[in-house]
C-alpha cells in the first residue's frame, strides 16, 4: 500500500509541476509574441498564459457574405463579349440578359447560324444552349456555375487574408463558413470602421478613356442620337466632392485600357499641397497596353475608375508607360488603405456584412476585472462552506478544487483554448460542479460510518460506491456541453470548451487526488477511530 501511495503522490506532483511549467512557458511564449519583447516579466507571462477571446481582449468579429452573383454576372458579360467578338460577321441581332446566368442572342433569317454554332462550340464550352423563338438562349452549366461561385469565395478569402496581413494584425482568423460566408476575427483591432472599409473595398480599378464629361446625366445623354449611349460606352458617376450634393457623370469606354490586374505595386504618395494620393506601377504587359493607349490619345481625358466611381479624369499630356497617380480627396489613412487594397488585389465579388461584433479595449478590461472578482468571491464562499460543513475533509475538497483550477488554467493554456467572458463563468461553474463529486463521496462516507462501518472501510466504500454516480453526472454534463460547442459564436464556444475541460479534470481531482489525500491522512496508521468529516 505504502509503495502504491508513493507512486500516486508522485504522479499528482508530476502533473501539478507539468501544469505549472506548461502554463508559465506558454505564457512566456505568448507574451513575447504579443508584447514584442524578448524577455517578458513574470507578471506578463502569467497574464498571457491563456489566450483571451475577442470579448475580453477587444477586437472585431465579422461574418461576411460573398455576393457570388457578381462573379456570375462578370462571367456572363465575358461570355457575351467573347461571342460578340467572334461572330462579328454572322449578322446577330441584339442580346438579352434575363438572369445572371443566362443570356439570349436574337437571330433572324439573315443570321449565319452555323457561324454562331461554331463560335459557341469553340469559345463557350461552359454554356449549354437551346434554340427557338427566334433566339438562342445560353445557360451556364451547373458544374461551371458551382465552380465559379466556389472560386469567388475562395478568392475572396485569399484577398481578405492578403489585406489583413498587409494591414498587420496579430493572430487573425479568416475562414470560410458554409457555402458563401466568410468569418473574420481580428483580435486587438480597435478601429472597426477602418478595418471594415478595408475588407469590403472591392478595389476594382479601371482606367478608361473618356468620351464625354463631366456633366449631368441628362446633358450627357442628350449628346447621343436618340438619347441612348452606344453599346461600347457606359455612364459612370463621379466621386462626390466633399460638401457637395450634386452628382456629375462621365461617359467612358466600356473596354478599359488597363485594370487592377495590370498593377505591379501601389503605394501612398503626396501630391501638390501635400494632398494624399496613391501612386501605382504597372506590370510589363500593363505598361505596353498603357503606353499604346496613352500615346494614341494624347489630349484626351483618362478616367480613373475605382469601384464604379470616377476618382479623377486627368488629361493625357504625354505617352505614359509604367506608372500613374490616383488623385481624389483622400485622408492619409484612406490613401494608405487604398494603396494596400490595390496591392493585395481586387475582390472577385462584392461583400455584405451579415454580422459584426466589436468590443473596445476598455470594455474587455472591465469584463475581466468583474469576471475575476465574481469568480474569486464565489470560490471563497464555496471553500468556506466546505470546510465548515465537512471540517478536515472539507480541506481535502478545497485542495482538490484548487488543483482543479490550476490544471484547468494549464490545460486551457496548453490546448490554446480561448477564454471568453462566459468562459470565466464556465471556469467558476466547474468549481461548483466539481464540488459535487466531493460531496457525493463525502456523503457516502458519512453514510457508511452511520451504518457502523470502520473509518477506513467507510472511506474506501465511499469512493467506490460514489464512482459510478460521478461518472454519470460528468457524462451527462459533458454531453450537454458538447451540444453547446456545436452552437453559437465565439463567447459561447469558449464557455463550452472551459466547461468540458473543467469537467474532465474534475474526474481526476475529485476522485484520484481526493482519495490520495485521504490515504495520506489515514492510510499510514494501522487503525483509526474517527474520521473528521
Amino acid at each position: 500500500m505504502g509503495k502504491k501511495l508513493r507512486w500516486r503522490v508522485l504522479l499528482i506532483l508530476l502533473v501539478l509541476a507539468g501544469a505549472v511549467a506548461g502554463f508559465v512557458l506558454t505564457g512566456y511564449a505568448r507574451a513575447r509574441k504579443d508584447l514584442g519583447v524578448t524577455t517578458p516579466t513574470v507578471k506578463d507571462a502569467l497574464r498571457h498564459g491563456i489566450k483571451l477571446g475577442l470579448d475580453l481582449r477587444g477586437g472585431i468579429h465579422l461574418v461576411l457574405q460573398v455576393n457570388t452573383a457578381d462573379a456570375l454576372k462578370a462571367e456572363r458579360d465575358d461570355a457575351v463579349e467573347t461571342l460578340r467578338n467572334n461572330t462579328k460577321d454572322a449578322g446577330l441581332g441584339g442580346v438579352e440578359l434575363p438572369t445572371d446566368t443566362t443570356f439570349s442572342v436574337v437571330v433572324n433569317d439573315k443570321t449565319d447560324q452555323s457561324k454562331l454554332e461554331d463560335a459557341t462550340k469553340r469559345f463557350l464550352p461552359d454554356w449549354s444552349y437551346t434554340t427557338g423563338g427566334g433566339k438562342w438562349t445560353f445557360v451556364l452549366k451547373d458544374v461551371n456555375r458551382h465552380q465559379i461561385e466556389d472560386n469567388a469565395v475562395a478568392q475572396a478569402v485569399e484577398t481578405i487574408r492578403n489585406r489583413i496581413d498587409e494591414f498587420g494584425v496579430a493572430e487573425p482568423l479568416i475562414a470560410r463558413e458554409g457555402k458563401d460566408r466568410i468569418l473574420v476575427q481580428l483580435p486587438g483591432i480597435d478601429d472597426p470602421k477602418r478595418v471594415k472599409d478595408l475588407i469590403k473595398n472591392t478595389a476594382f480599378l479601371e482606367l478608361s478613356l473618356v468620351d464625354k464629361g463631366p456633366s449631368t446625366s441628362e446633358a450627357l445623354l442628350a449628346g447621343y442620337p436618340g438619347g441612348k449611349i452606344p453599346d461600347n460606352l457606359k455612364m459612370v458617376e463621379a466621386k462626390a466632392e466633399p460638401g457637395r450634393t450634386d452628382r456629375s457623370y462621365y461617359i467612358v469606354r466600356k473596354q478599359a485600357v488597363i485594370t487592377g490586374r495590370d498593377l505591379k505595386n501601389a503605394r501612398p504618395s503626396q501630391g501638390q499641397f501635400g494632398a494624399a494620393t496613391v501612386s501605382f506601377f504597372l506590370t510589363a504587359g500593363g505598361s505596353q497596353k498603357f503606353g499604346a493607349a496613352t500615346g494614341a490619345n494624347i489630349g484626351k481625358q483618362l478616367a480613373i475608375i475605382l469601384d464604379n466611381r470616377v476618382q479623377s479624369a486627368p488629361k493625357i499630356d504625354d505617352r505614359i508607360t509604367d506608372s500613374g497617380i490616383i488623385k481624389g480627396s483622400f485622408t492619409p489613412e484612406e490613401a494608405n488603405d487604398l494603396a494596400l487594397v490595390l496591392r493585395a488585389g481586387a475582390l472577385p465579388a462584392g461583400l455584405t456584412y451579415l454580422e459584426e461584433r466589436t468590443v473596445g479595449p476598455s470594455l474587455g478590461l472591465d469584463s475581466i476585472r468583474k469576471g475575476v472578482t465574481a469568480s474569486v468571491v464565489g470560490a471563497l464562499f464555496v471553500f468556506v462552506a466546505m470546510v465548515v460543513y465537512y471540517r478536515r475533509a472539507g480541506w481535502n475538497a478545497v485542495i482538490a478544487l484548487l488543483l482543479n483550477a490550476i490544471l484547468l488554467a494549464a490545460a486551457m493554456s496548453l490546448f490554446e483554448a480561448t477564454l471568453t467572458l462566459p468562459g470565466i463563468a464556465g471556469f467558476i461553474l466547474t468549481i461548483g460542479m466539481a464540488v459535487d463529486s466531493n460531496v457525493l463521496v463525502f456523503e457516502r462516507i458519512r453514510e457508511e460510518l452511520r451504518n457502523g462501518r470502520a473509518p477506513k472501510a467507510a472511506i474506501e466504500n465511499g469512493f467506490s460506491k460514489a464512482f459510478a454516480t460521478i461518472v454519470d453526472t460528468h457524462a451527462t454534463a459533458i454531453i450537454a456541453a458538447v451540444f453547446l460547442l456545436q452552437f453559437g459564436t465565439g463567447p459561447v464556444k469558449g464557455f463550452a470548451v472551459t466547461l468540458i475541460i473543467g469537467l474532465l479534470i474534475s474526474m481526476f481531482t475529485a476522485v484520484f487526488v481526493s482519495h490520495t489525500i485521504f490515504e495520506i491522512e489515514y492510510g499510514r496508521r494501522a487503525h483509526i477511530d474517527t474520521v473528521s468529516i
Binding site: 477602418r194 492619409p332 468583474k370 464562499f381 464555496v382 454516480t469 453526472t473 454534463a477
Partner: protein, 431 residues
C-alpha cells in the same frame, strides 16, 4: 456539521401536489411568454444593432435621440445602463430592411457630427481612432525625432507609443480633455504636446457594437432551438442506455423540459432578454438538471438490487432521502457561485447568472419530484394494465431484465420492481 441526518420524508405522498405546483409555474411562465409580454429577444436572435458608448460627461438622452432621429435608421432605443456615474449608454437600432448597412458606423458618425459639429479634418479624434491610425500619424509627424537616430525604426517606435496612449485610454475609460495626456506613462513630452495640438478629444468612446443581420439572426434562432432539442435527446439516450430503462429516461427528460419551460417562463416574467449567452445557460441547465436526476436514479437502481421486496415508491422515497443531503449541498454550492456572478459579474453575465439561479432551484426540485414521480406513475400505470390483461397473479416481465437477475413477481398490491440492468456493469466499477 450536518443538515440532514437520515431524513425519512415521504416525498412521493405529495407528488400530485407537486405536479399541480409544476403546472402552475409552467402556466404562469407561459402566460408571461404568450399573453403578457412575449419573449424579449436580444439582437442575437431578432437581428438589429446594439451599441454601447461611454460619454465624457453625463449624456442627455433626449438630445442623443434627437440627433439620431436624423440618421433615418427606424426605431431607436436609448438607455443608460450600469452605474450612472460611468456615463454609459446603450443604443439599440431596429433591424434594417436590407442586409449589409453599416448601422454601427452610421450611428457613431451621426452622433459625433451632432455632438461636436464640424471638426478640423486634419485632426483625429483621440477617443475614436485606433492604434494603427494614431501610429501612422505620429510616424508622419515624428515628434520624438526618431528618424535622425541610428538604426531607427519609425513605424515600430510609434506603434509602441500609440499602444501606450490607447492603453491609457482604456485604463481610464476615455480621455476627458487634453489635460489627460499628461498622465500617459512612458510617453515623451513632445508626443504629449503633439497630441494636444493634433487631436481632438471626442465626446465618447465606443465600448462595443453588435450588428446582427436578419439572416444570421434567423440562423441562430434555429440553431438555439436545435441545440436544446438535441441535447435533451442526448440525455434521453444516455439514460436509457445507462439504466436500460425507458421510464427512467422519460422521467429525466420530462424533468429537463419542465425545468427549461419554467426557466424560460420566469425569465419572460422578469422581462429579461434572450440572447446567445442565455441559451448557453439553458443548455448548461439541461446538463445540470439531468445531473441531479441521475444521482437520484443511480441510487434507485442501487437500492433495487437488494433482495428485499419493496414497493417501488418506497424504494424511490428512500433513494431521494439518501441523496437529499448531497442534492441540497451541491445545489447550494453551485448556487453560491452563481449568485456571486449575479451580483459581481457585470452586465453581460447578469441574465446568464439569473437563468442559472432559477434553473438550479427548479432543477433541484424537479430531480426530487418530477423525474421520480414520472417513474412511479409510469410503473403503476404499466402494472395496472398488465394486471388487467393477466387476471391471476403471475410473473410480470419487466422491460429489460437481464437473464441473470431473478425475475421479480408482481403481487396484486405492490408495484412491480423493475430491475434496471447495467448492474453487472456497475459491479465492474466497484473494486
Amino acid at each position: 456539521m450536518e443538515l440532514f441526518r437520515q431524513t425519512n420524508i415521504d416525498f412521493l405522498k405529495y407528488r400530485w401536489w407537486a405536479i399541480g405546483a409544476s403546472w402552475a409555474l409552467i402556466l404562469i411562465g407561459m402566460f408571461a411568454v404568450f399573453v403578457q409580454k412575449g419573449l424579449k429577444f436580444g439582437i442575437d436572435f431578432s437581428g438589429g444593432t446594439a451599441i454601447a458608448v461611454k460619454f465624457n460627461e453625463r449624456p442627455d438622452v433626449d438630445k442623443l435621440r434627437k440627433i439620431l432621429d436624423g440618421a433615418n435608421l427606424g426605431e431607436i432605443g436609448i438607455q443608460r445602463y450600469e452605474d450612472p456615474e460611468k456615463h454609459e449608454v446603450l443604443i439599440r437600432v431596429q433591424q434594417q430592411a436590407k442586409e449589409g448597412r453599416d448601422v454601427a458606423g452610421d450611428v457613431l458618425r451621426t452622433l459625433r457630427q451632432g455632438l461636436e459639429g464640424p471638426t478640423d479634418p486634419a485632426k483625429i479624434d483621440i477617443n475614436t481612432e485606433g492604434k494603427a491610425t494614431l501610429a501612422a500619424r505620429l510616424a508622419a509627424a515624428d515628434p520624438d525625432r526618431v528618424a535622425g537616430r541610428a538604426d531607427a525604426d519609425l513605424a515600430a517606435a510609434y506603434a509602441q507609443v500609440a499602444e501606450r496612449v490607447i492603453a491609457q485610454r482604456s485604463q481610464v475609460g476615455l480621455f476627458h480633455s487634453a489635460a489627460d495626456f499628461g498622465t500617459i506613462p512612458g510617453v515623451s513630452p513632445e508626443v504629449k504636446a503633439w497630441l494636444g495640438a493634433n487631436t481632438v478629444v471626442g465626446p465618447f468612446v465606443l465600448l462595443s457594437a453588435e450588428n446582427v443581420g436578419p439572416q444570421v439572426g434567423a440562423d441562430l434562432q434555429k440553431k438555439a432551438v436545435l441545440a436544446i432539442v438535441w441535447s435533451t435527446i442526448g440525455m434521453l439516450l444516455y439514460i436509457v442506455f445507462r439504466f436500460r430503462s425507458l421510464p427512467f429516461g422519460v422521467g429525466a427528460v420530462v424533468a429537463i423540459v419542465h425545468d427549461t419551460l419554467i426557466t424560460i417562463g420566469l425569465l419572460a416574467l422578469f422581462g429579461r432578454e434572450f440572447n446567445l449567452i442565455v441559451v448557453a445557460a439553458l443548455l448548461t441547465l439541461v446538463g445540470y438538471s439531468n445531473n441531479d436526476t441521475v444521482v437520484v436514479l443511480d441510487r434507485v437502481r442501487e437500492n433495487l438490487k437488494t433482495p428485499k421486496k419493496e414497493p417501488l415508491d418506497v424504494v424511490i422515497n428512500r433513494s431521494i432521502n439518501q441523496t437529499l443531503s448531497r442534492t441540497i449541498l451541491t445545489s447550494g454550492a453551485t448556487l453560491i457561485v452563481v449568485i456571486a456572478l449575479y451580483f459581481l459579474g457585470g452586465e453581460v453575465l447578469n441574465t446568464f447568472a439569473l437563468t442559472l439561479i432559477i434553473g438550479i432551484i427548479v432543477g433541484t426540485y424537479s430531480s426530487i419530484y418530477v423525474a421520480a414521480s414520472i417513474v412511479v406513475i409510469w410503473k403503476n400505470f404499466q402494472n395496472r394494465r398488465k394486471l388487467a390483461v393477466v387476471p391471476a397473479p403471475a410473473p410480470v416481465k419487466a422491460p429489460a431484465v437481464p437473464p441473470t437477475a431473478p425475475t421479480p413477481s408482481a403481487s396484486a398490491s405492490s408495484a412491480a420492481v423493475a430491475r434496471p440492468a447495467g448492474s453487472g456493469k456497475k459491479k465492474k466499477n466497484r473494486r
